[in-house]
Symmetry: C2
Subunit: 320 residues, 2 copies
DNA sequence: CTGAAAGCGCTTACAG
DNA sequence: CTGAAAGCGCTTACAG
């Protein structure tokens, strides 16, 4: 039998109306009563039924989604994000609407906004703050609540793994521009190298576009000049796919003669791709939860979600 | 004031229970009564409230989504599809669940399945048929209800446009394997050429992967051998991005010295990309509607959604 | 501050 | 075949 507001009311010795008021954070409830009700709810693990709530209120919570513009919106990464959001929507009486790129003319009222890291962040945040709409960022930025994968930790993990496999000529393909995540991944990677204390390491970083083509071109150019690197860390899986393409075009066998590891966990992009995987479902879940909780209105909260190494088969010991 | 079942009942001179039975297609309603109620609903443009329905039934319509496996799942195209589905879900008390790649072990009950064109279609359809679950395909396949963009018409449109711009050395980059959509696009393109009746046309088709890298490689190889084509039609926008990358690497200016047009309408992949655009929101909407209507259980229906040419700036007159 | 009661829009045994 | 009534789980004036 489903746990309802009635049962909570009975056990707390109050009416259903009062329980409802507690749930909705109305101020007209005695401190004592509130705490009592809250305790019962917690003990029984009660969660209000969003459907009944919606029927009764004749409205649902509206969460605006603010993706950036440009090709990034169509990236495999966002693909996963949409799927995760689609799952999040189930069961929460929540409505997602995609916000227009140009900010101000908010047609419909939104209760909170979920933003992705993009340019002009500050300006947008300011607009939202003025309107009193809480914002949650996927990524991190001073003064804003956000959820982000452990980019730095992931970069370190990639570096450590390559070093453990004996690679000493390392290449990092990264993204030009000041993207927080790219900087974090790079600095984690460098930290791993420094922390290893190994002598005679050769480490190069090349910057380009974070796409397949970007990875392809960087790798191709790297291969054209001098002895090729054997341990390659790409800031995104898309770049890794491109890098693998270039290695193939140059006849360099992976993982026999070179190892490649990407970042994001989109291993379906290339069968067997090794990658540092983000936990996108968890990130989406946390972000939506923060937004629903109205965090951002009341204080700032930063959540860092762990990443995990996926071994795949593009990783192997350094060639002799 | 919202139009409710009560108002319908009043105007039809029956009880709300009876209206409800009509809505739900219960058989225990007199033909006469049913038609009368239906007429009133239609006249007033009544639509049942999904939220109330769900609260009352304690269940919602569950639509399984069956995407294929592999990299395709992460493609920009699917990206758009997820977004469109996310929008579709709003307001319809419908739950989407992603079905596992391996078919049989249907954990939760699903009311209908939305499938995307993938391999082993026949086998899957058979399984569903056995279980009595209606299926709707995005794509087309004999004997199954489906929604598909006008692939052939789009291919023709691309061909006509390139010819109208004076291009006479044409190249079509397409996808290896027997994908219905790729075959349709190619045949539309060829039809345009034949129908033009122009003499002295040079037309080549190359097959590869439907990705950026696939497009890049095909285009690069085409450029390495002989006089380069000037009018290039790619079966997907991803391939077009790759083709543009190769043209850039070879120093061929677009659109001065070569024109490129893709297919799908994912123009954000490359600023200014010309493309034959699918109307993905409409396709998603129609597909979900078919599924909800239980089409597939009762007869087969095929819907073809028109495509549109997006001019962009990768299209120009043929060089002299 | 809190309870009793009506109401959100629909479905479904239960009688007839 | 059809109506009257209870019920889905919650919210919110209205009294007190």
């Amino acid at each position: 039998m489903k746990l309802t507001i009635g049962e909570i009311a009975r056990q707390a010795g109050v009416s259903t109306g009062t329980v409802s008021r507690v749930i909705n954070g109305k101020t007209t409830v005695a401190r004592q009563t509130r705490e009592n009700v809250l305790a019962v709810m917690k003990r029984l693990g009660y969660e209000p039924d969003p459907v009944a709530r919606e029927l009764s209120m004749r409205t649902k919570f509206t969460l605006g989604i603010w993706v950036g513009s440009g090709a990034n919106r169509l990236s495999p990464y966002f693909n996963q994000v949409w799927r995760a959001l689609l799952r999040e929507i189930q069961g929460r009486a929540t409505q997602f609407i995609e916000m227009p790129v140009d900010i101000l003319p908010l047609r419909r009222r939104v209760d909170a906004v979920l933003m992705f890291h993009c340019d002009a962040i500050d300006e947008r945040l300011e607009t939202l703050a003025k309107l009193g709409i809480p914002a949650v960022l996927i990524g991190h930025h001073p003064g804003v609540s956000g959820v982000t994968p452990d980019d730095e930790g992931g970069g370190r993990m990639a570096g450590q793994r390559l070093l453990a496999l004996g690679h000493r000529r390392l290449l990092h393909l990264s993204v030009a521009g000041s993207f927080q995540w790219a900087l974090d991944r790079a600095s984690g990677f460098k930290a791993a190298i420094e922390e290893s204390g190994l002598p005679g390491l050769d480490q190069v970083t090349l910057l380009g576009e974070g796409t397949v083509l970007g990875g392809y071109r960087l790798m191709r150019d790297a291969l054209k000049s001098g002895p090729h690197p054997t341990g390659i860390f790409c800031a995104t899986d898309e770049m890794a796919v491109g890098a693998l393409g270039a290695l193939a075009d140059f006849g360099i066998a992976v993982p026999q003669n070179a190892s490649v590891i990407g970042f994001d966990g989109l291993v379906e992009l290339h069968p067997g791709l090794a990658s540092i995987a983000q936990d996108i479902p968890v990130i989406a879940h946390q972000a939506v939860s923060l937004a629903l909780a109205g965090i951002g209105r009341k204080g700032v909260r930063q959540i860092i979600v762990p990443v995990a190494l996926i071994e795949g088969c593009t990783l192997g010991p350094a060639p002799q």
